[in-house]
Point group: D2
Chain length 234, copies 4
């Protein structure tokens, strides 16, 4: 299995290199850059995604994503930048009830487990627990912007740049980055803080994101940026 | 005071009659009608709006709006129609914190009282308490559609008609009706179930709504309609 | 007729005075103020609204709204502020075709006249014609934000304040102001540059707006503001 | 090069097979199915994407995507289903002007070529030209739903299912499918009618879509479905 994953990575890297040549020639893969007022958006780093034993459990959480996200959160708190956490849960998770707030998503994925009554499932991972003054947004769909007040919230706060972490690269993170750009924000995907649950998905989604929707940046660059701007002293 | 209010009503009715003549001649004030699948949207019938002593306390709640809304809710429950309740509260109601989820609204109205930590303030009025399977949507702005999952929720459920109740006519009810039409639903404002806190505001807002955005209908017609369609047997 | 309108105005002013007392006591009618980067949004100042003979023709256009809007546009052009014009038209204005892009609005108002093929109807009034670099947004519904790219456009441009002009106070202007606040912008309704087609509607809608959604400001204050900030030198 | 592409495809298929095993075990990759009222959404099948010589030119257009899309359009026209075409262009494509309607997207991709004044660039490919009564939506961002009236349009028409074609799989098609589900529609990605400009991107994006957001279905199944439902006889 590990051998196969390594082979896939190699093959994907070859494909990305070839695609990069075409993209550069055509004028894609430009840099959007960091702006002047960042916010941190932590996508679905809640127990059903970060802890073992759930259908949504992801890879790379303990050793990579949680530690990276903690560093980002700390840097935001030190500098007064807004921190937003998203999670997913439903008031009516009965797939047989047409009044369910799952909409049609349970026809594709097992979101019926995310019962709002069972907070253990959808609570933000305690290792990166929100503190007073930060926002926890319950969303019903993939994008952190869809069906939430995120865009208006960020605009009212004067934010122009969103650093995005979390899971999964192939769904909620990607949709958040795509919408973030569309709503007028500079999306930065923090490479070490993003993951998925199937091999290759993080790679191909970050590749697509970096080509077209936002910059994929290493953690160190993001931390340096967060420490270089101060939210209140504008 | 009562005399002045009666005078205002008379004068408004005269103005509405004159405007109606012009509107009819020009082709406004048409009927949108009831569709095939209704949902009931109860706007901000939460304690800070329905109980005495708050900045948001409204008129006509006990004798008119709550009883009418109860009848509508009962009819929905009997026939399986979705019922949605909206309320307003904030995780960070500190007006001096640029990270507040009040956005910019506290610069206009006293929403800083709606602290999410103080559920008494924003809980749905116990006389029309939601039951299991119904939706309570926390919104941050006026419209029930803005920054919420309401539009996608209704579309996924196959709803084509929204009956709107609640307060206030001059803000959240009106914005909900306006957006409801824009999102592709037939808005019906239930006359007896809508109110405000200043004289005249209910009248002029329902007049504008009926002229351009949705039908203002009496409670009896709405109840008859709700009992004439069945959500599941479609 | 003029006497009746004057009576209505007086009665409304009395009602507004009484309501203002209650609003002030309760903490409404606060000032949102001008921000740092304005844009001008001219709502539906297109021929079918500004020229005689259409169902949508409004009052006060020639002597008040057009001259005021011209001054605002000039001030924006001198200072580099973005100018946006909205209008309404439909690719398929056949009310009997379920595929019409009128949605359900033709069930309320005579929008079927706004045929995209007939540009005379929906072109921006030539007295305030857009110039190169400015935006003309075709919208399908009341709000300039609904079903358009306006919010993302303004955010990407760093705008935090919207000055709103146009018609009608009771529909598109009001919906634009309501949504503008919700999207995180400071809405300023320019009193002299807003109108309607029925007596009283401008007054009661501007009253509601000023109480809850944006500041109603005189033209002079808006011009002074536009001349005091420069879009590019930020 | 062809050998490398074939190798990549093989490796991706292996990865998809492994991922499918995990997804099935976890309850992903469910079928959303066809609903009762479809619409066809043709994403960006405009000259700059379908004809040679542009930065946006895609692969597989002439032999696969255009013929498949034509068949779908014909089936829709025969059965009265709504057909929507999206394209992208800008009124102010000057990347140095902060008032550009490109928002921030030109910081990532070469959209500055899509000048609204140069209709040849953004006109729908003449081989699948729209006819009277169909909708052409100019969008500014990736998703057909973002900054457009598409969601309200489809809801008002009673549509519950969207068949999606066009380019690119890694941007506008994917974003449209993701948003379509979120807005309450059943998204169906028509395999033969979707493409991209870099090897692998169509495959990995359709894989992600099918796992989580909509069903990827072959052309034949989609044609059979379109012919089995009639828009008007509902």
């Amino acid at each position: 299995m590990d051998r196969e994953i390594a082979d896939l990575q190699t093959k994907l890297e070859d494909a990305f290199a070839a695609a990069t040549a075409l993209y550069r020639e055509r004028g894609f893969q430009r840099r959007i850059g960091f702006g002047r007022k960042p916010a941190l958006i932590n996508v679905d780093l809640a127990n059903a995604w970060t802890r073992p034993g759930y259908p949504f459990t992801c890879e790379g959480i303990d050793d990579r994503i949680i530690p990276a996200t903690r560093q980002l959160i700390d840097a935001c708190r030190e500098n007064g930048h807004p921190v937003v956490y998203t999670t997913v849960c439903y008031q009516n998770p009965d797939p047989d009830d047409p009044r369910t707030d799952m909409g049609l998503w349970h026809y594709k994925i097992p979101i019926e487990i995310a019962d709002q009554k069972n907070e253990d499932i959808w609570a933000i991972d305690s290792r990166i627990a929100p503190i007073d003054g930060e926002q926890v947004m319950i969303k019903k769909r993939a994008s952190a912007f869809h069906g939430t007040y995120l865009a208006g919230y960020l605009r009212a706060a004067g934010v122009d740049t969103i650093l995005v972490t979390g899971v999964t690269a192939s769904a909620c993170v990607r949709a958040t980055v795509t919408d973030g750009l569309a709503e007028g924000f500079r999306p930065i995907a923090v490479r070490e803080a993003i993951g998925d649950r199937i091999p290759g998905a993080t790679e191909w989604n970050l590749f697509d994101i970096d080509a077209k929707f936002g910059d994929v940046e290493p953690l160190e660059a993001c931390l340096a940026y967060l420490n270089s701007v101060n939210f209140r002293n504008d």
